[in-house]
């Protein structure tokens, strides 16, 4: 990007970004500011009113449920992250280094990205005939004699939640990792091979370090999507499992806005801390 050329240019830049700033002020900054404010308010049965007290936070931190819900959410996040990373890296590695022609690379890459533009809720629903009690998975397992009775934990369980997360979000790993891989100078890999590196050593000491920015961006996406989720957990666990997002959405359903706000503030701080840590390893603006 070029340096500032003068007052006129800076002014027009400001004018051009005004619509974006306006939209994000009204629908992002203001709402977040209100959430922070309302988190100190008090609530009665069906309404809430201005106050400055810490009851909402006191209740949140005093409840043993909070910790267990956070631990469960972190477990979902950790497992989903690990699986999407390994799967996403493998797929990106295949596309970038094993597929040899560019049209083929683009074609297969699009094949991976198209589901991103279809409905998440439909993609969740589409697991029912597969995982259900009489679903395909159980029929196959029974036919093969691997189990005696249908497995009950395939659908509406933590397993199903994580499966759906992996199904929905692996793409967010593939795209940035593939992007960084395609920018790796191929002569570096040849040099490593000429110097006697094995395939694994090339992966470990050349490709992996150079892919770090892509991995970090993918991680940020997956971690924030899973940490804030409230629908996948609800739908795929059949309402049996909890997450921080679900806790908040339940409070909203009960019109407990101050309590929901306090939970939301704590969730936001948690997510921002995680992202802040991840951003120390990557400069996003340089990666575009």
């Amino acid at each position: 990007m070029s340096k500032v050329h003068g007052r006129g240019q800076a002014l027009s830049a400001w004018l051009l970004s005004t619509p974006l700033i306006a939209v994000l002020t009204v629908f992002l900054l203001l709402p977040v500011a209100l959430i922070v404010t309302v988190s100190f308010w008090q609530s009665s049965a069906y309404s809430y009113s201005p106050a400055f007290q810490f009851d909402n936070y006191g209740y949140l931190f005093g409840s043993p449920v909070t910790l267990s819900v956070y631990l469960r959410t972190l477990m979902f996040t950790g497992i989903t992250w690990a699986v999407t990373l390994v799967l996403g890296f493998t797929v990106a590695w295949y596309l970038a280094f094993h597929v040899r022609t560019l049209p083929m690379q683009i074609g297969l890459f699009l094949l991976c990205t198209i589901p991103f533009w279809t409905s998440n809720i439909i993609r969740m629903i589409s697991w029912i005939p597969f995982l259900g009690r009489n679903g395909i998975a159980n029929s196959v397992l029974l036919d093969l004699g691997l189990v005696d009775a249908p497995l009950e934990w395939l659908l509406f369980s933590d397993f199903a939640v994580i499966l759906a997360f992996v199904h929905l979000y692996t793409l967010f790993m593939i795209v940035p990792i593939f992007n960084t891989m395609m920018r790796i100078d191929r002569s570096l890999i040849e040099a490593a091979r000429d110097a006697g590196a094995s395939g694994f050593q090339v992966l470990r000491h050349v490709v992996l370090p150079l892919c770090k920015p892509g991995i970090m961006i993918g991680t940020i996406f997956v971690v924030t999507l899973v940490m804030g989720d409230f629908i996948t957990v609800r739908f795929m666990s059949g309402g049996q499992s909890a997450s921080v997002g679900r806790m908040i959405s339940n409070e909203i359903g009960l019109l407990q806005y101050p309590a929901a706000s306090a939970s939301a503030v704590v969730l936001l701080i948690t997510v921002l801390l995680m992202v802040g840590t991840l951003l120390r390893f990557v400069d996003i603006r340089k990666e575009l």
Binding site: V4, L24, S261
Partner: protein, 269 residues
């Protein structure tokens, strides 16, 4: 052609399994949506029929599927246009590093990574305190823009980072005004990327869910209608709807791809 190493075949198998994992479930419900009238949510197929599709077009016992489809379509188109216009404007602005540009950039990133429930809750409280009714075309629209704008913006950044400014200089040297340079040089060059931004804007809005759930008001968009159906509909009509809306998504993607091809072919001439 050199012989492929063993790892190629293993990774090809992994990739094929991954693609099966991605598309398999969707294909399954596409097949099951042709269930006979007495069929259930899982295999086996009790005959093959269009019963459940016909059911969709008849008077529904619950909800308003076609109304919600029309609203989703309208909202998607509005979000698409707004996303393209604002993304281009901001993309142009960011070609100079103006004071506060980093702040605006991180604001957009925050918009992307903030847990969706905060947008839903915050916009809900905002409208509640202002004594306004939440509606898909106001609070719903704004909430969706917090999701689509960052994507559009990131694409525009990537585009302008690779933009060769000498075309503009040539235009200016020939006496083009700023507006003429933009209209006849810059916009035609970035046109294919704009189609990409439009595709993101429309499809992300059309399928958006988490940020619209509490901000759409009493008139549902299609994903919300489907979500509502999951709790009280236990027939393959759910699959028929899912199949139709997925076909619609694929058709939309195809349409945009075709549009992009036309634009690129015109340029090649």
């Amino acid at each position: 052609m050199r012989d492929r190493p063993a790892s190629f075949w293993i990774l090809s198998a992994v990739f094929a399994l991954f693609v099966l994992f991605l598309y398999g479930p969707t294909l399954t419900i596409a097949i099951l949506s042709f269930q006979g009238p007495t069929g259930g949510l899982t295999f086996p197929l009790n005959g093959v029929s269009l019963h459940w599709f016909r059911d969709l077009f008849e008077q529904q016992a619950v909800g308003d599927i076609w109304g919600s489809f029309r609203r989703s379509l309208a909202l998607g188109l509005i979000v698409m246009v707004v996303t393209v216009v604002i993304s281009v404007m901001t993309g142009l602005a960011f070609r100079t590093r103006f004071r506060g540009s980093s702040l605006v950039f991180y604001l957009a990133i925050t918009s992307l990574i903030i847990p969706s429930i905060l947008i839903s809750l915050g916009v809900g409280i905002l409208f509640n305190l202002l004594d306004l009714d939440v509606h898909w075309s106001t609070s719903g629209l704004g909430s969706q823009l917090t999701w689509t704008l960052p994507f559009g913006l990131l694409i525009m950044f990537a585009v302008f980072n690779r933009f060769d400014a000498s075309y503009e200089e040539a235009a200016r040297d020939l006496g083009a005004s700023t507006w003429q340079t933009l209209r006849f040089v810059v916009l035609p060059i970035i046109a294919p990327s704009l189609i990409g931004v439009a595709l993101f804007g429309f499809t992300l809005s059309y399928d958006e869910f988490a940020r619209t759930l509490l901000t759409a008001g009493s008139y549902n968009t299609l994903p919300l209608e489907i979500y509502g159906m999951t709790t009280n509909v236990t027939t393959p009509v759910l699959y028929a709807l899912g199949t139709l809306t997925t076909v619609f998504s694929f058709a939309t993607i195809g349409l945009f791809a075709l549009l992009m091809k036309v634009v690129l072919a015109r340029r090649a001439r």
